[in-house]
């Protein structure tokens, strides 16, 4: 088995798909995975692939024109996933896609398609959850800063929602896990920034209490009806791992 590995960014992953496809080793003999590889296996050969713009572009063009634009978006979304087999599953679905065309995602008779839809669903759920649960803190009364720790790389789709929501505010969303940030100056286009060590350190302490965090926490605790208490239901809708930077679940004295 030949295992093609690459960095976890969009361009590298598309290049990796290109290389694996073009290698001529047979689809059954190749596997794709994203670095870091957790467990190397003895009898497999590992081939590292670096991002190349032309190859990545040719893959996206082929998907767009030969399958459908929608398929391209589906693949792009699924590649954001943290699941280990996301890249390989996308590759398998593309093999089917080039054969059957745009209707492939309805063909749940193939295991790969089912798995692909699961991965896709996990990503879109995560995006939706963070649209809901992201919390901004007001810094210096001018900038609103939010930290979050997603599993998948959902910063882009989450932030694009907030450009709609707060077009005329200065705000910033920081992904603490992947160390990326989106900065949105008032009334301008937002941009992404990969954070350096110093920047991460400088931005670490933005979650400061003010009058409104107190008011909100108070409001939140008032709203629960004691006679209907149901922590299991609350946990279902709002899992613990998402509560990390959320104002109402943080202890203000910490």
């Amino acid at each position: 088995m030949y295992i093609y590995t690459c960095n976890p960014d969009h361009e590298s992953m598309l290049t990796c798909i290109y290389e694996a496809w073009a290698s001529g080793k047979g689809h059954g003999n190749v596997k794709l995975c994203v670095e870091p590889v957790e467990q190397f296996r003895l009898f497999d050969e590992y081939i590292h692939v670096d991002a190349e713009e032309t190859k990545a572009e040719s893959v996206s063009r082929s998907i767009w024109h030969k399958i459908s634009p929608q398929m391209y978006w589906e693949i792009s979304y699924a590649l954001l996933s943290f699941e280990e087999d996301a890249l390989d599953t996308a590759y398998r679905v593309l093999i089917l896609g080039f054969h059957f065309g745009a209707r492939v995602l309805d063909m749940v008779q193939y295991r790969e398609v089912i798995r692909f839809r699961e991965i896709r669903k996990l990503v879109s759920r995560e995006v939706h959850s963070f649209r809901e649960f992201l919390r901004f803190y007001c810094v210096n009364e001018t900038v609103y800063v939010a930290h979050f720790e997603p599993r998948s790389r959902v910063l882009m789709p989450v932030a694009s929602y907030f450009t709609e929501r707060m077009p005329s505010e200065n705000w910033m969303i920081i992904d603490d896990v992947h160390r990326e940030a989106i900065v949105h100056p008032r009334d301008e286009e937002c941009y992404m920034r990969i954070l350096s060590e110093e920047e991460v350190f400088a931005l670490a302490d933005t979650e400061q209490e003010d009058a409104y965090t107190r008011l909100w926490r108070n409001y939140f605790h008032t709203m629960g009806i004691a006679q209907r208490k149901n922590p299991a239901c609350q946990m279902n809708h709002f899992p613990l791992w998402m509560r990390k930077h959320v104002t109402e679940f943080r202890n203000p004295d910490e």
Binding site: V108, Q109, R228
Partner: protein, 472 residues
């Protein structure tokens, strides 16, 4: 008379007025899609966004507050009735606007839900509420979601104004029967509730027509394929009278907004009056069909007042009944059921042990099992354990090959309920007899845990050394 305490902080007011508003159930921010605008704050998403979940598991999507809990009415079920001795407070318009804007910017909420006790007169109160909304929309340039509770018995102009400023308007029916309303809310009457509801509904319809949409609100797309659906136009009876439009009253020409684009909703109290489930469900269906309501909410009555006519304080909240009603409400809106299919006058209450859909399927075993590969969308939706999403997926994917049980499971079909009612490739999943008693017994076991948890939610809990004995 009331004394308004001066010098109360916003924090204290928020606590009192949020506490007074929390028994209102509607907290949805759905029904309208609106893009953000430069220079303004906010947008709306048609699916709605829940921002957090309170300790009772209900979502908090809007800043749900009363403008004031001073009230001249004496509704028996209400915590804010004038005969209750509770702390009273009132927000100033600026306070409400500031809270909304600052909470919104921090992504705590999706908008404002404004209700109020009645000060001086219904008209006066409604006018104050409209002032708040006007300020929020113009001075504060707020473009997010606003839900306003219309007060029964106010002039049409004020309702119109509220509708133009808010996204959703709702009037609480509270009771499905006129007798109950008279008994529990002596200051209200049915006419002052139904009349504005009708006018709002007609004005929404006219505004939708004027902007090139269908007069009736958008419903779940699945309803298009369901002949039996309550929203099916062919079945709808016309009310037979001319439309009653509200007067146009917004003086500021710059503020062009459509009238209550997210529709209107209402709420009914469960367990205080003596309505049966059948009456409640019939009323619900009528409201959807005749008044084109977007949602009807049910609120299990939490006993708060000492009153001879009401359940005593400490009586368990009828959560299971509320749950069954919501299940039935979903069956009406998404599954193409009619109220009289689920309940009849002879059997006016829901089965405690089985959900309404299982109950229906067991009464119609002659229609089952159905073949998954050939059954119509309408029939698939009637199988317990198959919902609109999985039915759609089945219809889409069966064109490309047979479906087995593993694939059905992956598509989201709940096989522990569905397998009694379906075949795939002519075979059932297990060898089970199609026999009412047997399947009822089996399904009751499946449902028992869920029902038990809903009823006994607060009475028992997992023991923990740390919480119960303060060790560690």
């Amino acid at each position: 008379m009331y004394t308004i305490r001066t010098g109360m902080t916003t924090e204290e007011k928020l606590e009192i007025l949020a506490d007074a508003a929390k028994y209102d159930v509607a907290c949805t921010s759905s029904g309208v899609e609106r893009k953000g605008k430069k220079g303004m704050l906010g947008n709306c998403s048609a699916a709605g966004i829940c921002h957090t979940f309170a300790s009772d598991g209900r979502c908090i999507s809007l800043l749900k507050i009363l403008m004031t809990n001073h009230c001249i009415y004496d509704c028996r079920y209400c915590i804010n009735r004038c005969s209750n001795d509770v702390p009273r407070a009132a927000f100033t318009p600026e306070e409400i606007c500031d809270l909304t804007i600052e909470f919104y910017k921090r992504n705590y909420i999706e908008g404002l839900f404004l209700s109020s006790g009645i000060v001086k007169s219904p008209g006066h109160t409604m006018e104050l509420m409209c002032q708040v909304l006007y300020k929020l929309r113009t001075e504060y340039e707020f473009n997010g979601y606003i839900h306003i509770k219309a007060i029964p018995g106010v002039p049409d102009e004020l309702i119109a104004k509220a509708g133009y400023l808010a996204d959703r308007v709702s009037i609480n029916m509270e009771f499905a029967g006129e007798d109950s309303l008279k008994k529990f809310a002596p200051n209200k009457n049915f006419k002052t509730i139904m009349n504005p509801m009708e006018k709002i509904s007609d004005t929404i319809a006219l505004h939708r027509l004027a902007s090139g949409k269908d007069a009736r609100l958008e419903r779940s797309t699945g309803n298009r394929y369901l002949e039996n659906s309550i929203f099916n136009v062919k079945r709808l009876e016309e009310r037979g009278v001319g439309r009653k439009e509200l007067p146009v009253s917004l003086s500021n020409g710059n503020l062009r907004r459509s009238f209550a684009p997210a529709g209107q909703s209402t709420q009914m109290i469960i367990g205080a009056g003596n309505e049966t489930d059948y009456e409640l469900l019939q009323t619900t269906q009528k409201l959807y069909q005749n008044y084109d309501l977007k949602r009807v909410f049910y609120s299990a009555y939490v006993p708060l007042n000492e009153d001879a006519l009401l359940p005593a304080i400490g009586t368990p909240v009828p959560l299971l009944r509320e749950h069954r009603l919501y299940q039935a409400d979903w069956l009406l809106r998404y599954y193409g059921f009619q109220a009289d299919e689920l309940l009849t006058e002879e059997k006016p209450d829901f089965n405690e042990q089985l959900d309404p859909k299982c109950d229906w399927a067991l009464r119609h075993l002659n229609l089952f099992p159905i073949e998954i590969m050939t059954a119509s969308f309408e029939m698939l939706l009637r199988v317990p354990g198959i919902g609109p999403t999985s039915a759609k997926r089945i219809v889409q994917s069966r064109r490309y090959g047979t479906l087995n049980y593993e694939q059905l499971k992956k598509m989201g079909v709940v096989l522990k309920r569905a397998h009694y009612f379906i075949t795939s490739g002519g075979r059932m999943m297990y060898k089970v007899p199609i026999e009412e008693q047997y399947i009822t017994k089996e399904l009751t076991v499946v449902n028992r845990k869920e029902s038990w948890e809903i009823v006994h939610r607060n009475q028992y809990h997992q023991m923990s050394l740390f919480d119960d004995y303060a060790i560690g």
